[in-house]
C-alpha cells in the first residue's frame, strides 16, 4: 500500500469517502466549502507526491484517485455491510431452526423394558391373506392416468429447470415479463418470473414459454422459441423499439433491466442474432475440420516416416537385386549399403553363376566415392536405377584391397556407373537410402559430380541461346 504513506492522498480519500457515502449529503454541505487537503497542501503542511499538483485542479479527477469508492448508479442506496447481511442471514436461520423440531440421536441401550420391546417389535403374520375387496389390478394412479389420457404436453418442459423460484443458494433474478406478442387484452399484466442467473437469454425465453403454457393450455406459442426475442420495455409494457432484442446467447444476468417483453423477433434482429446459423455451420464444419485435422496428422506422420528413414539410412542393409552389365545381361547380386560403403557381392546360384559374362566381381566402394544415385526407368513391376561412382584407383577399394584413402582433388575425376534392376518398391527404397547417406556425408565425389552436371547444363543452355 504505497499510497498510504501519502498524507495528502489519505486525507483526500477520507474526505471523498464521506461525501460519497453519506446519503443525507450533510457531509458534502459541510465539507464543500473548504477543501482541507488542498489548503494544507498549499500551506506546505502536507507532503505531496510529484505529479499530484496538476490533478488537484479538478475535483472529480481528484476523486477518481480514491479508487475504493464505487460510484454507484443508484445514489442514495447504500450497500449493507457484509456483517449486517450475515447477521440477518443468521437471524433468519435461527428463526427457521426454531420452527424445526430437532431430534438428536441418543445412545440409551437399556432404558426399555422387555414388554415394550416385544410390543414394538411384534412379529406380524404377514402370510395371513387379508380379505379385501380391493381390486389389485387398479390403482388410484392408473385411474388418474386414464382420466387424462391425452394430456396436452407442454412443449417447453426442457426449460422448467431454469426456474429460479424454487432454489435457495443458486443466484436467481426476478423479471416482469409482458407477453407482447399476445392481443392487447391478454397482455395487460406482466408475469413475474424468477430465473436462475446462469441461464442464457434463449433458455429464459423457454422458461417464459413453459410458465405461460402451463397456465394457459390453449396458447398460441410457437414451439420453436428461436423465433422469439426479449425486448426492453417500459413499466407499462410498451416495447422500446429503438433497442434491439437481447442477444439470445448471452447470460440473462448480464442485463440489468427488470421489465422485458416477449415477442416475435423482428427480421432485423433475426438477421443479427441468426440463431439457426451457428448450428448448421457447426454441423458443416465438423467433417471439414476433421478432414483438415486428419490431413495434418497424415502430413506429420509422413514427415516422421521421412525422418525415421533418414535416421536409419546409415544402418547396414542388404538388398538382393540384379546388376545389369555392359552387355545388358543380368546377374543377381547382394547389394550391401551402409553409412561407410556400398558392397556388391555376386550371388552364387549353381550353374548360372558359372557363365563368364554373368560373372560379377565382388566389389566395394567407399561411400565418399559414390557420387549419385537415381531411378532411371520403370518397366512394369521392375525399376532400374543407376549408381554413379568415381573409378579412380584411389577412390576404389576392392574387396581384397587396401585401406580407403582420402580422395584427392587435383586428379580429374571420371565417373562410371552401375545399373541395377529391382522391383519398384525395393529400388525406390535403395535410392532413397543412398541419397540420404549422400546428403549427410556430402563427399567430394558428389560435389564434383553435381558441379560437372551443372557445367553441362549451362553449356547446353548457352548452346541453345547461341543457336
Amino acid at each position: 500500500m504505497a499510497l498510504y504513506d501519502n498524507q495528502h492522498w489519505l486525507l483526500s480519500h477520507i474526505r471523498d469517502s464521506f461525501i460519497f457515502t453519506d446519503d443525507t449529503s450533510a457531509c458534502e454541505m459541510v465539507m464543500l466549502g473548504e477543501d482541507l487537503p488542498k489548503q494544507l497542501k498549499a500551506n506546505g503542511v502536507l507532503d505531496c507526491y510529484p505529479g499530484m499538483e496538476d490533478s488537484d485542479d479538478e475535483d472529480i479527477y481528484a476523486m477518481a484517485e480514491s479508487y475504493d469508492i464505487q460510484m454507484d448508479m443508484e445514489f442514495g442506496h447504500r450497500q449493507r455491510s457484509n456483517t449486517a447481511q450475515r447477521l440477518e442471514k443468521m437471524d433468519l436461520e435461527r428463526k427457521q431452526a426454531a420452527e424445526i423440531k430437532h431430534v438428536k440421536w441418543e445412545n440409551k441401550p437399556s432404558t426399555m423394558s422387555v414388554e415394550i420391546q416385544s410390543e414394538l417389535f411384534q412379529r406380524k403374520d404377514f402370510r395371513k391373506k387379508k380379505e379385501t375387496k380391493a381390486d389389485k389390478r387398479h390403482s388410484l394412479l392408473a385411474e388418474q392416468l386414464e382420466k387424462c389420457p391425452n394430456l396436452p404436453q407442454n412443449p417447453f418442459t426442457d426449460y422448467a429447470k431454469f426456474d429460479g423460484s424454487e432454489h435457495i443458494g443458486t443466484p436467481a433474478k426476478k423479471y416482469r415479463i409482458f407477453m407482447s406478442m399476445l392481443p392487447e387484452e391478454q397482455r395487460m399484466y406482466p408475469m413475474q418470473i424468477v430465473v436462475v442467473a446462469t441461464a442464457k437469454v434463449q433458455e429464459f425465453i423457454g422458461l417464459i414459454c413453459y410458465k405461460y403454457a402451463a397456465e394457459h393450455p390453449d396458447n398460441p406459442l410457437k414451439a420453436d422459441i428461436t423465433k422469439y426475442g426479449l425486448y426492453i420495455t417500459e413499466d407499462d409494457g410498451e416495447v422500446d423499439w429503438d433497442l434491439p432484442c437481447l442477444d439470445p446467447r448471452e447470460t440473462i444476468a448480464k442485463f440489468g433491466f427488470t421489465c422485458l417483453g416477449l415477442k416475435e423477433m423482428t427480421p432485423n434482429d433475426r438477421a443479427r442474432h441468426n440463431t439457426v446459423v451457428p448450428k448448421t455451420v457447426r454441423y458443416e464444419e465438423n467433417p471439414k475440420g476433421k478432414d483438415i485435422e486428419q490431413k495434418s496428422v497424415a502430413e506429420d506422420m509422413a514427415m516422421m516416416d521421412d525422418h525415421t528413414t533418414a535416421m536409419e539410412a546409415p544402418l547396414y542393409q542388404l538388398y538382393r537385386v540384379h546388376i545389369i552389365n555392359k552387355v545388358r545381361a543380368k546377374a543377381e547380386i547382394h547389394l550391401g549399403i551402409s553409412g561407410e560403403k556400398i558392397e556388391i557381392d555376386p550371388v552364387i546360384t549353381g550353374k548360372g553363376a558359372a557363365r563368364f559374362w554373368n560373372r560379377q566381381r565382388a566389389v566395394s566402394y567407399h561411400i565418399d566415392n559414390i557420387a549419385w544415385c537415381e531411378l532411371v526407368e520403370h518397366k512394369g513391376p521392375k525399376t532400374t536405377f543407376t549408381l554413379v561412382y568415381t573409378s579412380h584407383a584411389n577412390h576404389l577399394e576392392f574387396h581384397t584391397g587396401s585401406s580407403g584413402q582420402t580422395p584427392s582433388l587435383q586428379q580429374s575425376t571420371s565417373f562410371k556407373n552401375h545399373d541395377f534392376e529391382a522391383d519398384s518398391a525395393t529400388a525406390e527404397e535403395i535410392v532413397r537410402k543412398i541419397n540420404h547417406i549422400l546428403e549427410i556425408r556430402s563427399g567430394t565425389s558428389r560435389k564434383e559430380y553435381l558441379a560437372q552436371r551443372e557445367r553441362k547444363a549451362t553449356r547446353r543452355k548457352n548452346f541453345h541461346l547461341h543457336r
Partner: protein, 319 residues
C-alpha cells in the same frame, strides 16, 4: 383431484437429488407442485410415512422430514447425531418407528411415537451400510454393507445372522416381496441374488435358501424392488437401464431404457404393479408402462441428477 381428497386417498410422488431440493409432483400430469429445500446435502433416500403426512429424506449427517400437507419449504423435523451419510431409510408399517442405515457402519431404529418413550436402537457392523430393508413381519431388519455382508437383525431378540453371497462385491440394495417369499440383493458387479424365504412368523425363525443368481446388469446395480403383487422384480443400474423380471422363474420381461442414457438410481412400482417410476442422472424422473415399456410421463425440473424417489399410491376398491 390430487390433494383434494382425504390424506390417505391420494397419490404422492416425491423426488430428490444432487441439486439439494426435494420436489413433490402431481404424478398423472407431470407438474411439479412444490419444491422443498434440502440444504447442504444431496438426497440419498426418500420414504413417505405410512400416514402420508410426512416425507423423510436421508442426507449427509441427518434425516429430515417435510410436511406434505403444507407448503413449508423447510423441514419440520430434523434427526441428527449421525456421523456420516445416511444411505437408507424406511418405516414400520404403523409408523411406530423408523429405520435407517448409514456410512457410519450402523443401522438404527428411531422411535417415532413420542419424545419420552425413546427407544433408540443401534446395530453396528464392520463396514459402511449401503441399504436397509424391513421384513414384512415388521420385526427383522436386513442390512447390506460395503464389504458384501448381508446381516439379518432380529429386532425382538437382538439375535443376528450373516451371509455373504459373493466375495469382494458390495451389497447395493436388498428387497423382500410383500408376501415374504423372496429376498433379492443386488451388488456392485451387477449381479442379483435371490433367496426363497420361509418361516418368520411367530417364534419360527426366518430361513433363507439360495434360489438363483441373476446376471441382471453389466455394471453397478443400484436398486431392486419387488412389485406390490410380488409378481415382478425391478433392478436398476449404472448401465443406464432398469430391468423387470418375473418372480415365477426370474426371466426378464421388460427393459426400461431411454435414449438419455444415464444412470438409473431408483425405482418404485405403482400399487397395481402396472407402472414403474424411475429416477435418473439426467435430472428427469419417468413413469413407465411395464407391459409396453413406453414412457407415460416425464417429470422435469431438477437441475442435477435425481438419486432418490418415493411413491405412495392407493389400491382402488373395485366397483
Amino acid at each position: 383431484m390430487t390433494g383434494d381428497g382425504p390424506p390417505n386417498e391420494q397419490v404422492i410422488f416425491v423426488t430428490g437429488g444432487y441439486d439439494h431440493t426435494i420436489k413433490i409432483w402431481q404424478a398423472h400430469t407431470g407438474i411439479c407442485q412444490r419444491t422443498a429445500q434440502h440444504t447442504d446435502s444431496q438426497v440419498n433416500a426418500l420414504d413417505i410415512t405410512p400416514d402420508k403426512q410426512l416425507v423423510a429424506a436421508a442426507g449427509y449427517q441427518h434425516i429430515r422430514m417435510y410436511d406434505l400437507g403444507s407448503s413449508n419449504p423447510n423441514p419440520v423435523i430434523n434427526y441428527d447425531g449421525v456421523a456420516k451419510n445416511v444411505t437408507g431409510l424406511g418405516f414400520q408399517e404403523d409408523g411406530k418407528w423408523m429405520y435407517t442405515g448409514g456410512e457410519d457402519c450402523s443401522a438404527r431404529i428411531w422411535d417415532l411415537r413420542s419424545r419420552d418413550l425413546q427407544c433408540q436402537r443401534i446395530f453396528q457392523v464392520s463396514a459402511p451400510v449401503n441399504c436397509v430393508c424391513l421384513h414384512p413381519n415388521q420385526a427383522e431388519l436386513i442390512v447390506g454393507d460395503q464389504s458384501g455382508v448381508i446381516h439379518l437383525w432380529d429386532l425382538r431378540s437382538d439375535h443376528n445372522e450373516q451371509l455373504i453371497p459373493e466375495a469382494e462385491a458390495s451389497i447395493q440394495d436388498i428387497a423382500i416381496d410383500p408376501e415374504g417369499t423372496h429376498m433379492a440383493a443386488v451388488n456392485n458387479k451387477g449381479s442379483c441374488y435371490i433367496w426363497a424365504l420361509s418361516g418368520g412368523v411367530g417364534k419360527e425363525p426366518t430361513k433363507l435358501s439360495p434360489r438363483k443368481k441373476l446376471e441382471t446388469h453389466k455394471r453397478y446395480a443400484l436398486r431392486c424392488q419387488f412389485s406390490p403383487d410380488s409378481s415382478l422384480l425391478v433392478t436398476t443400474s449404472a448401465d443406464q437401464t432398469a430391468r423387470v423380471w418375473e418372480t415365477t422363474d426370474f426371466t426378464e420381461t421388460q427393459i426400461l431404457k431411454h435414449e438419455a442414457k444415464r444412470w438409473v438410481w431408483d425405482a418404485a412400482f405403482s400399487a397395481d404393479s402396472q407402472y414403474i417410476f424411475t429416477a435418473s442422472s439426467d435430472g428427469v424422473a419417468r413413469l413407465w408402462n411395464v407391459a409396453t415399456g413406453v414412457v407415460e410421463r416425464e417429470y422435469q425440473g431438477h437441475q442435477k441428477a435425481i438419486t432418490a424417489l418415493a411413491f405412495r399410491d392407493e389400491v382402488r376398491v373395485s366397483s
